[in-house]
Symmetry: C2
Subunit: 590 residues, 2 copies
């Protein structure tokens, strides 16, 4: 019997259910053109050309019902062999299938079809036995548009997503996780908490940060800059545009051209929105000569970068067309490299720790290596590659953080450590990197005068401490489910006077807290206390101060916390100390 | 006898000396083509086409010598009348003069020439009597390139600048002031103090801020943002690029097109580097509906803006192609306008005061009015203009700051208050503005729900609190002559150990000061104390801590201040308190 948790079984299960979905769709809308229906992570999809018929998520339950009916007769998948001509006849006027058939049969091979009940489809195979029992625990999830073969130039098809599991419990668990993730989705919460918006006329992939979102961003940015300054980074400002010649010098143009925007003509020169900070920092370094005593020189910047993304790929704050990277380039001697990489990882861990992210649980490291044989993709210098990879590996081994190695994932100019963050859906992505570079110093002729008074070439470490601020924001919104710790909360305290008699006292308290740099609001609407509390909780304000006649009389306060945490003190002074300490400490607890 | 201080006399004096300059040049290089030589503020210039001869500032003393020789025979200016043909014969092959002669004689007028000694020139007149005595106190200053008639498409001529005064004392005073200004020039000090650099390959008019310059900028930016937040401004972040359609909606395109850069093609859309923040803030406002209770809404941003400048106009940090403006748009009811303009002026005065800039001495206000008759330049709505100008005038009158009125200097959409800053040369320029706008709310259909539940149109106040950070920096470098107050100093304390025996103690002190967020450096070079002090003073570091054997033994410190100010304490704790108070208070005194 098959191991029902094996990746192979699960893939067959998902793909089999995609057949079932297509069978139901063809029964309900016989004029539909089927295309393909693969298994994907956690489920499957099937792409259809419905012609003029518009299919929305309202139709999903009807399709599911039909799938259940059909499923009763699905005892197994029968394999059939057909010639290309015979296969084409099965799909009259279906140009998508004909295109596939031509491709699959180009070497004269016969084609396979798989049949269950009275439905069959062109298919390479990979199904489960006893579908009538195995496919029971499925659910259709959503409808989306998708270009045929993922190419914008092709026709837009209708894609139906679904999922399926071996047992009911597993399906229900998965759906509950999906629902929880949906609740935490940064686009949804960003709107509900009024943190950022998009404007059609401003443009795609260009978020506008509201006052509340901007408060969080400013706190994060200042925190990063201050911490980096403390660690000896030298923060600079360099221009967001530069002459095309600069990127020709660095090699980004034309090698990185696809990710760059079109040039801006200024007089007789061409300027580019910068996709990277490195050449700017190198030019700053080159404005003087440098001694070994100045190394390592850690040039840092909160740098606005511009990289092309297709409009279909844009997604909230996760994929944008302009982002702000906490970037740095450490110019160092080869001997200093290990200590500098170690320092960079320590800084990353410190920042992640303050956000409440734990190594192993929320992130791990990937050592991305070069391929010595691939001279096209990797700069040829085996000794340098060996040395640099050795440095990174030994630093990682000395850290108390899980890591794994990946071959042929390095940058052109050297190996790197990728920081792999896992989001609330459990999906792992490279958030940012620490890279060892022995190529750019040559291109830019970077040098320093060593102890012997001779000119020597340094190495460069490209690193971020936290990644792009936009992605950090998206990640943290989902990680905290909108319940930001107090130091990041746009409104830290909301004062709720029960009646107008408490208004003056509310103002006194607000002023006193503001003098201590606390972000305070007073809810002076003519609403019931219940409504005021509910609204403050919807806004995820961490602390509420409720003021009734008794509080005014006793010059006391009554504090209510988000999520029913308790604070029983009634003295404003004590609370102010409590609060400012939570803020200063960047405490994760209220 | 003429009043030798009257503007008219001074202008005649300057223009007469320009004749003298040209006479000397023609004597020295007879094949030169003369063009024009007007009086300007504080002096004069004359533009020449020297042909293949290259003239540098090395030639100025020789020219001055010839001027003095010629001057002996200059008893007066004789007026002569010539026809156009006769005039042209005086300037064989001089196309510049011929062009002028054609213009001046186009209505058949005869032309005037003025003659002194054996030199004459085409001239409208305006000279002094007794030149041989009156012109004695002159000085040639510099040589520069200048396009004929200021047009880039024309030939580049050689311009010689000079100055002249009625008395020797006045000339010497002026030269001393020029020399002092040269010493304070922000480009010169910016280089000497290593605050910013330019890179040919990065591009023209795009400064790169070094770690030291960036420190000052960061302090200024945080100071402004924090102060604005305290005053109820809502800081946001909006994109630096936007779809061309946004600027068509605002009217900047095509009306402001000449100052905008060329579009960037992204897929099938055109994006612009933004020249203004207003449309971005309006779009943010439009993302929700708003109640009168939210007004006035003060939307602020440290906004990066891009405006085209000809490459010849670029000058250090004063004229750049990208700058960062402390910008805001106050959306308010018409009734709130006066209070909001008043608040904006108070904020401006508060910030200027902290920088040590005094109203009347360093800046004054200009009320720039519209011209009701000019419907092309000013939006037609007489009642609104009357109202808005009245509001601004009454606010200005209530302020204890000098102001004057200027007609036809308003923006298209309403009157404005210009903040006129006077630089160290005494030159007054509009640094930034507070504008009343009753047009953009209509274009963007801005609205709010009033107390009666009806939709109403707000007004907008465009304002800056300090202007562009780049210009602030240029201004402050010159204002302080590089001696920044301690809160802005890149290095606040430099520790100078006399021998290596004091190094460990120096490190302890540095750590302790750094824990209090003081920016400290240790000069651990093997140099004499004298050399270390001299270098720290050249860097304009406000405080030096000198550590010898005695200080180590007694665990004391010895403080030396910039500019020989005195601090006699020897306790580190006391000094730390003294220093951190100076920093927190943003004190102008050490």
């Amino acid at each position: 019997m098959a191991d029902k948790q094996s990746p192979e079984y699960l893939e067959n299960l998902r793909h089999s259910t995609a057949h079932l979905l297509a069978a139901a769709v063809m029964k309900l809308w016989p004029h539909t053109h089927r295309t393909i229906g693969p298994a994907i992570e956690n489920g499957f999809y099937f792409d259809f050309d419905f012609g003029d018929t518009k299919i929305s998520e309202d139709e999903l339950s009807k399709i599911e019902e039909t799938m259940r009916e059909i499923l009763k007769d699905w005892k197994g998948f029968e394999r059939h062999e057909l010639t290309a001509d015979a296969a084409k006849k099965e799909y009259p006027d279906n140009e998508y299938k004909h295109e596939l058939i031509d491709e699959f049969s180009s070497d004269g091979q016969t084609l396979t079809f798989y049949k269950s009940g009275d439905y069959w489809d062109l298919c390479r195979g990979g199904h489960v036995d006893h579908p009538e029992n195995a496919l029971k625990h499925f659910k259709l999830l959503s409808v989306a548009g998708a270009y045929w073969r993922g190419d914008e130039k092709n026709k837009m098809l209708t894609r139906i997503y679904g999922t399926v599991f071996p047992t009911k419990v597993e399906l229900e668990d998965h759906l509950a996780r999906l629902e929880a993730a949906r609740e935490r989705d940064h686009k949804k919460l960003g709107k509900e908490l009024d943190l950022f918006v998009f404007s059609e006329i401003v443009g795609k992939g260009l978020p506008l940060w509201t006052p509340k979102g901007a408060t969080i961003r400013r706190e994060i940015e200042r925190f990063i800059v201050d911490l980096e300054l403390k660690r000896g980074y030298l923060h600079v400002y360099t221009p967001d545009i530069a002459n095309l010649a600069l990127y020709e010098k660095s090699g980004h143009y034309p090698y990185y051209k696809e990710s760059m925007y079109a040039p801006i003509q200024i007089d007789d020169e061409q300027y580019m929105l910068r996709p990277m900070t490195c050449p700017h920092h190198f030019e700053l370094y080159l404005s003087h000569s440098h001694s070994y005593k100045e190394l390592p020189m850690r040039i840092a910047e909160l740098a606005k970068l511009y990289r092309y993304e297709q409009s279909g790929e844009l997604a909230g704050l996760l994929r944008v067309r302009s982002f702000c990277l906490a970037d740095a380039h450490i110019i160092a001697t080869a001997e200093q490299a290990a200590a500098e990489v170690k320092g960079a990882l320590e800084l990353i861990q410190e920042i992640a720790g303050i956000f409440g992210l734990k190594p192993g649980e929320h992130y791990r490291y990937r050592l991305s290596l070069g391929d010595r044989a691939d001279e096209k993709k990797y700069f040829k210098d085996d000794a340098q590659w060996d040395h640099a990879e050795g440095v990174l590996r030994s630093v990682l081994a000395s850290q108390d953080v899980p890591f794994f190695e990946a071959s042929a994932e390095a940058a052109f100019y050297g190996p790197k450590i990728d920081i792999q963050m896992k989001n609330v859906n459990g999906k792992e992505d490279t958030a940012f990197t620490v890279q060892y570079d022995f190529v750019m110093p040559k291109r830019f002729k970077l040098s320093y005068i060593n102890e012997q008074g001779e000119s020597e070439e340094p190495i460069v470490i490209h690193r971020s401490s936290v990644g792009a601020i936009e992605r950090v924001m998206a990640f943290l919104i989902e990680h905290y489910a909108g319940k930001f710790p107090v130091w990041l909360s746009p409104t830290q305290v909301k004062i709720l006077p029960i009646t107008d008699r408490a208004l003056e006292y509310a103002q006194t308290i607000a002023n006193e807290l503001r003098d201590s740099s606390v972000r305070v609001e007073i809810d002076n609407r003519s609403e019931t206390l219940g409504a005021k509390i509910r609204d403050a909780q919807l806004e995820q304000v961490p602390y509420m101060i409720v003021l009734g006649d008794r509080e005014v009389e006793e010059q006391a306060i009554s504090v209510r916390m988000r999520d029913n945490a308790k604070y029983s003190g009634t003295s404003l002074d004590e609370f102010k100390n409590y609060l400012t300490e939570k803020i200063t400490q960047k405490s994760l607890q209220l």
